[in-house]
Symmetry: C2
Subunit: 302 residues, 2 copies
């Protein structure tokens, strides 16, 4: 089988993926965009990492587009994406565990005020802060998909009282949950319904001193509203892995804000070996005519 492998990849990254995929599927030919264009009718599937818009047009035999990322909002924004080809997103246990680690680290740091201690260290201040029990720190997890559920589970395992909210629920349920949350962790998919959800009204519904962790998409947050809530002291701290513009522009206020932790979109990077195994399984299913895994509902957006 000929498979197109393309996207926002350096040559070294492309080779790394090709090697990992070859190991997982030795009988498949992995082609770059230029090579594949020489005989487009042979390409049965495309494995893609944020490809440029238009890349996925003109493949008459294409029967599967497999993303190497969990979030497919960028792919779906490409109007030229063939509407009749099944689209699968990456659901990889290694990636899910990486997300659990990042979320747990951020929640522990907010709960035990380790970001506050880092500020104290910069000021050479030796001062103990109140120590709450996990049972006293309610956490609201936005999103109940693969990532959201896995994060809620690991937090519950550490005794945090966790409430999960899905975007299909009504806004009144969200307001009630916000009023009780000390920490919010966002793991929603980006859809028209969730874009800009974390705005001034959302933040005003949180109790004073709450923390926000955004591990989903930058466009979920109205950045000016988040900055205002931090500057007013209402919000204690924000841990942000994703931004409206990535890389985060050098002049952006988030970089040097004392109550913002900036991560360069690394909460859960695709794990090459884990992802190659997932891709191999879906391509095997494609060849065998079995049901494909992790298909995206394009109307829903994830």
């Amino acid at each position: 089988m000929d498979v197109l492998l393309c996207g926002d990849l350096s040559e070294a990254e492309w080779c790394m993926w090709r090697d990992a995929l070859c190991e997982a599927m030795p009988d498949t030919r992995w082609l770059g965009l230029q090579e594949a264009r020489l005989r487009p009718q042979a390409v049965l599937a495309a494995v893609v990492d944020n490809p440029d818009p238009g890349c996925l047009q003109g493949w008459p035999s294409l029967r599967l587009i497999q993303s190497l990322w969990a979030g497919v909002d960028r792919l779906l924004a490409d109007a030229s994406l063939p509407a009749d080809v099944p689209l699968a997103r990456m659901v990889d246990p290694s990636m899910t565990r990486a997300m659990q680690q990042t979320a747990l680290w951020a929640v522990l740091a907010l709960h035990r005020d380790f970001f506050g201690y880092a500020r104290q260290q910069a000021a050479r201040q030796w001062l103990a802060r109140p120590q709450l029990r996990a049972e006293e720190v309610p956490v609201l997890v936005l999103g109940a998909g693969v990532m959201g559920s896995a994060v809620a589970e690991v937090l519950r395992g550490h005794a945090y009282p966790v409430v999960s909210w899905r975007s299909a629920e009504d806004p009144a349920a969200l307001e009630r949950a916000l009023a009780r949350a000390r920490i919010v962790v966002n793991l929603l998919a980006l859809t028209p319904r969730t874009r800009g959800l974390i705005d001034a009204r959302f933040l005003a519904a949180l109790p004073a001193g709450a923390g926000v962790v955004n591990l989903a998409r930058g466009a979920h947050v109205v950045e000016a509203d988040l900055l205002a809530a931090l500057d007013s002291g209402r919000l204690a701290h924000a841990v942000l892995d994703v931004f409206g513009t990535e890389p985060l522009p050098t002049g952006h206020a988030f970089w040097h804000h004392p109550r913002v932790t900036v991560l360069p979109h690394v909460a859960a990077r695709t794990d090459v070996r884990g992802a190659a195994t997932v891709v191999a399984e879906n391509l095997r299913r494609l060849q065998a005519g079995e049901a494909l895994l992790h298909l995206v509902d394009r109307a829903r957006g994830y």
Copy 2:
């Protein structure tokens, strides 16, 4: 029963403890040092938080000294401590959970390089670092007492390969364990055997790029050796909750070292309600003539 409550406590802290202890044991009279000295023969037990040396002399009826802290090295350093009175240390599940949280936070941060990302943020640098799986990050836990065992257990639950070392084991076993460890977490008791354990030789036995987490006692570490290992780049980062001198002196190099995280001895603060329950149970056992809990072996030092 009259019980002495004393130590390194402000008036507000003394009252907080007295209130919590009163709630746990309503029939007990809790006396400060001055009040208790008026009728020393009535004092059957002392509940202490790092008391000044000499405080525990001159109580003819004393049958239990109950520390509010897990580590009793400061108490044992008091030559005037009555040799024939049982000494109990604090073993409180809330405190153990707080220690698990701090250790897990530090290990997650070292594993996923969140301290490195904080340095990048200060330099406004957007750069992904390698993402290892927990299975690829061996952790060496020094100490296998209540705290060490609990920390090893929670780290194993997150898939870290954990090796535990107790001070009774031979140094060759330690050198072998160090050679394989990517992160070391110290939870040893401070004894003549463990004082100064983390020295140049210890640090040289670790692979390059390792991290050290000290949640036990400052005197376990030869601070100059640790600084040298950090400055040479051999050690990637140190998370230090305890120091040779506390509070850490303003001029100390740890405060502003980019590869040192300073915490003001807060990894596991005594949880007032949890500890009051533990004290109440031990005092009940004292009155009932039952076996006391958490007694210190003074020869061993913990």
